[in-house]
């Protein structure tokens, strides 16, 4: 709760900081301080020491999963600021505003991590989406960026419309926005409720770019300035998933048997389309866009199986996927050439960057001893525990094998091919944070317990 308030306030602070200083370093400093505060406040909140206590009348309910998820989100964003904060200056003149928008997105994420009514879900999703439309179009002189923003905005508004329609239908059938009330006594699905549920399924699938609602993703991720793609493809996406699972677990968990097949088909389509299309990409940025769809397919496993392992797995996936993808994007931003050839010879010219980005890629491919493996492992075991979707598990591992192809193409370029990569100046902080990310990826891969233990901690 405190994190929500602080992030909203800090967003405003960031907006006004642009008036008082034009120095990029100062603005970055304020943003990083704010984020560190957010993290501290959230950890304190987690341990039961709330700074302010507001009665939300049951509309926002934080549990250990919400806190843990927010910790991961704030932690990952902090690393992201350290790595890519300076690259935001290259996008345009309004550095303070970019940070302000990101803080507003974080406020939205705090809401979707804890919503208990459909109303709050809608607010949270919109608070996340609107700043994203702006960030996508922030490279004003670039036609692709403008196109992406418009496309994202039109498609996003459409899906929001679907969501509202779904909420209205559900309200009509149940007479309440509260997830608990909707969930209670939902033994049989009436046409009204079922219609609403399917509309919600579609609109949430759009937000997390699950097939067949994924068509906006490659264009938007490709068109948006790369620094913001990094944020959108990681933190925002996992937040969408968190909301997705929370919504369906509480409201429609009891009728899972009736929609599981829909979810499973969406998952299978997402896995196939994401992985197979990623194979044919020539640009690493676009490959990462499709890879984010492919990884979304794995996160969908949590929805299909809807059990404890799945929820744990989602938390774990959020950390593993965000860390690794932020790392890869951070290095990509430093390169001049976004094609695979742009990475040629990086192993020779920048051994440290090469090693850390390789660890991130191995994690994305799901190689053991990296966090990415444990994340996939959690998802697969959640689906196996569910027991009804073994075919999906087999499809999942085959797709994981396909994903090795495009992730390893980057590794091949880095180490096995010769070239003179054009890399922008890299600061010491950048190197330190990259090493930190690599260490975290390996550490969580070997000791997954260190992350999931918090979920069952009682203060």
């Amino acid at each position: 709760m405190n994190a929500l308030i602080l992030s909203a306030i800090w967003g405003v602070v960031m907006m006004f900081s642009g008036i008082f200083t034009k120095s990029g370093a100062a603005i970055r400093g304020i943003a990083i301080t704010g984020l560190a505060l957010l993290l501290v406040v959230n950890v304190l909140d987690f341990q039961g020491t709330a700074l302010v206590d507001i009665n939300t009348r049951g509309m926002l309910v934080y549990n250990t999963f919400s806190y843990m998820f927010l910790n991961i989100v704030f932690g990952a964003t902090l690393l992201y600021f350290f790595l890519s904060g300076s690259d935001m200056e290259r996008v345009g003149l309004h550095l303070a505003e970019y940070f302000a928008l990101i803080f507003f997105i974080l406020a939205g994420i705090s809401i979707v991590a804890s919503f208990q009514t459909l109303l709050m879900l809608f607010l949270g999703i919109e608070i996340i989406s609107i700043p994203l439309y702006i960030l996508t179009g922030s490279d004003k002189r670039n036609l692709k960026s403008n196109e992406a923003a418009l496309k994202y905005f039109l498609m996003g508004s459409f899906s929001t419309g679907l969501m509202l329609m779904g909420i209205a239908l559900i309200y009509g059938s149940k007479g309440s926005f509260s997830l608990e009330t909707i969930g209670a006594g939902t033994g049989v699905i009436t046409p009204l409720l079922g219609g609403g549920m399917l509309l919600l399924l579609a609109s949430m699938s759009f937000k997390v770019s699950a097939a067949p609602f994924h068509f906006w993703t490659p264009d938007v991720y490709d068109g948006a300035p790369t620094v913001f793609t990094s944020f959108m493809a990681t933190i925002v996406k996992v937040a969408g998933f968190f909301a997705f699972i929370r919504l369906f677990e509480t409201s429609f968990g009891s009728v899972q048997a009736q929609w599981q097949l829909f979810a499973a088909i969406i998952t299978a389509a997402t896995l196939l389309i994401g992985n197979i299309t990623a194979v044919f990409q020539q640009s690493v940025k676009r490959m990462l866009a499709y890879s984010s769809i492919a990884q979304a397919g794995f996160m969908m496993f949590a929805l299909v199986s809807l059990n404890g392992k799945g929820s744990e797995g989602l938390i774990y996936y959020a950390a593993a996927y965000s860390l690794a993808t932020i790392g890869v994007f951070a290095v990509l931003i430093k390169l001049n050439d976004y094609t695979f050839e742009g990475f040629n010879g990086l192993g020779k010219s920048h051994p440290l960057l090469a090693a850390t980005v390789t660890i991130c890629l191995l994690s994305l491919a799901g190689i053991p001893a990296t966090a990415g493996f444990m994340a996939k492992f959690y998802m697969l075991s959640a689906a196996v525990e569910n027991g009804k979707v073994i075919w999906l598990v087999i499809l999942g591992v085959l797709c994981a094998a396909i994903s090795v192809y495009y992730y390893f193409r980057v590794i091949q370029a880095i180490y096995f091919k010769d070239g003179e990569p054009q890399v922008a100046e890299v600061s010491t902080t950048f190197k330190v944070v990259m090493v930190l990310i690599a260490v975290l990826v390996v550490y969580f891969g070997i000791f997954p317990q260190r992350l999931t233990d918090f979920l069952y901690m009682v203060y």
Partner: protein, 488 residues
């Protein structure tokens, strides 16, 4: 304690190796580290105290997975010893080969050793899977960076192949995990499972494909000849000498005892694959002009015989496979050493371009001939013991009505092995020298040392195989027990 050391020593020394900039230092360091590992592995043979031979630590309690390793089991201990002996020999034999960024090469070699050791000592499925993959990653980099011309594509094919197999196995492991009553990854918990025929039927394939790709069994072998040819020779030795044993070992530990009924009912099919592999690989080996490919195909043929013996479900058959795992590791490393020395000196591996090396390098030739005889399985060499036992096993097996056919084809395989091996020796080492081989010199001291050790092992095991047979006897009996009692 001992199994932990077997993993930790190569792992840590490998990681340290990355920071050693001088190649000389890195070479000495990795040789020293591998010698220490070898000493520890051999000490396991003489240790009677069981508590020293195993170790269990809590790892991921939420999922019921422990870091539990053990070399109490004779088969695991034998393969740990094989791994321990092989690496110093490999380092010694390739001591005079120089690599760009040699420190990284040696560091990765040590990391792959750590992974291999882990596979052989792990008694927890999750841990086993970890090491199974981790042994592969350093190998991938070794082959792709220091390999031949087509290295990137070939190694990638190898990687994808094995990765698909292991992912399928992962699904199987997770499924079994949920079937165990207290949700555990322990090997013993998997053994205690009572699987019905339907479950065995499909789970069996998830594991079988993973192991068949690694061994490799026909038709999953297509990655192998290319990968062996393109990999740097030191890595080829690891791949064929030890990594192939991972597949055979995993069948004996993780497949047959858990799915005995499925293994039984698919026995003839698997035997057929093995039999086909023998004939097919032997015929191809005869056609090869490249020394590396010849040895690669001969390896597939040898594995085929092991497959036949695995299915035989007889004491001598399984014992034969056990000892042959050790022998094949030693022999094929010897073959690769000879190939590597020939190639380094004359710059070619083409059989047609070589000839008359015996006149120039008598020591090399003498050592080679012993190793080649072992490759054929002549008496007095170690392979004779293994092949004899396996033949007996296949011949006396009563699980299949085709056992006479299997024995006949396996016998044909031996004859063909003699044909291609002796033909190769005759063309490459005897006859007249030509312009390429005219200026040959004999091998250096370290190379003689490495080859002599291999030859001594070949002869000693050939004359006195009892220690190894005693070592694996318990494992064989317990596997047979599970195969027979669990059979419906």
């Amino acid at each position: 304690m001992i199994p932990v050391l077997l993993i930790v020593i190569p792992l840590l020394s490998g990681l340290l190796g990355f920071f050693m900039k001088q190649e000389k230092l890195a070479k000495g360091w990795s040789l020293l580290s591998s010698l220490i590992t070898m000493a520890v592995a051999i000490s396991a043979y003489f240790t009677k105290d069981v508590t020293l031979l195993r170790s269990t630590h809590e790892w991921i309690p939420l999922m019921g997975s422990n870091f539990s390793v053990s070399v109490v089991d004779g088969m695991g201990r034998m393969l740990a010893i094989l791994t321990g002996i092989s690496f110093p020999l490999i380092f010694l034999a390739t001591y005079n080969t120089n690599y760009t960024n040699g420190n990284r090469f040696h560091a990765l070699m040590l990391l792959s050793q750590a992974g291999l050791m882990g596979v052989f000592v792990a008694t927890d499925a999750m841990l086993f899977y970890f090491f199974w993959e981790l042994a592969l990653i350093p190998t991938y980099f070794l082959c792709s960076i220091w390999g031949g011309e087509k290295r990137i594509a070939v190694t990638f094919k190898f990687f994808i192949y094995t990765f698909i197999g292991s992912l399928l196995m992962l699904v199987g492991i997770i499924y079994l995990y949920y079937l165990t009553p207290d949700h555990s990854f322990a090997l013993q918990a998997f053994y205690d499972l009572k699987l019905n025929n339907d479950q065995q039927g499909w789970l069996f394939w998830l594991f079988f494909i993973a192991f068949a790709i690694k061994m490799p069994i026909f038709p999953f072998h297509t990655w192998q000849p290319d990968a062996y040819e393109q990999a740097p020779t030191a890595t080829t030795m690891v791949l064929s000498g030890i990594m192939v044993k991972m597949g055979v070992f995993a069948m004996l530990r993780w497949l047959i005892p858990i799915f005995p009924a499925a293994f039984w009912s698919w026995g003839d099919f698997i035997s057929f694959l093995g039999m086909f592999g023998i004939v097919y690989a032997s015929l191809l080996a005869m056609q090869q002009d490249d020394l590396k490919k010849l040895v690669a195909y001969s390896s597939i043929a040898h594995i085929g015989l092991m497959v036949l013996a695995l299915v035989s479900t007889t004491d001598s058959g399984i014992q034969g496979v056990m000892i042959q795992m050790f022998n094949h590791g030693i022999n094929i490393i010897g073959m690769w050493v000879v190939v590597a020395l020939t190639e380094r000196q004359f710059g070619t591996r083409k059989i047609s371009e070589l000839g008359g090396i015996a006149q120039k390098a008598p020591a090399l030739t003498i050592l080679l001939v012993v190793i080649a005889f072992a490759n054929i399985g002549l008496p007095l060499t170690n392979a004779f013991i293994g092949e004899f036992l396996m033949f007996t096993g296949v011949f006396t097996s009563n699980v299949s009505q085709f056992n006479y056919i299997y024995t006949a084809v396996a016998g044909l395989g031996i004859i063909l092995a003699a044909v291609y091996t002796l033909n190769m020796i005759q063309k490459v080492f005897f006859g007249n020298t030509n312009s390429i081989t005219a200026n040959g010199v004999d091998i250096s001291f370290t190379e003689k040392l490495a080859l002599s050790v291999l030859v001594i092992i070949i002869l000693v095991v050939g004359v006195h195989p009892q220690p190894i047979l005693d070592l694996t006897n318990d494992t064989t009996l317990s596997i047979l027990n599970k195969m027979i009692t669990k059979h419906p």
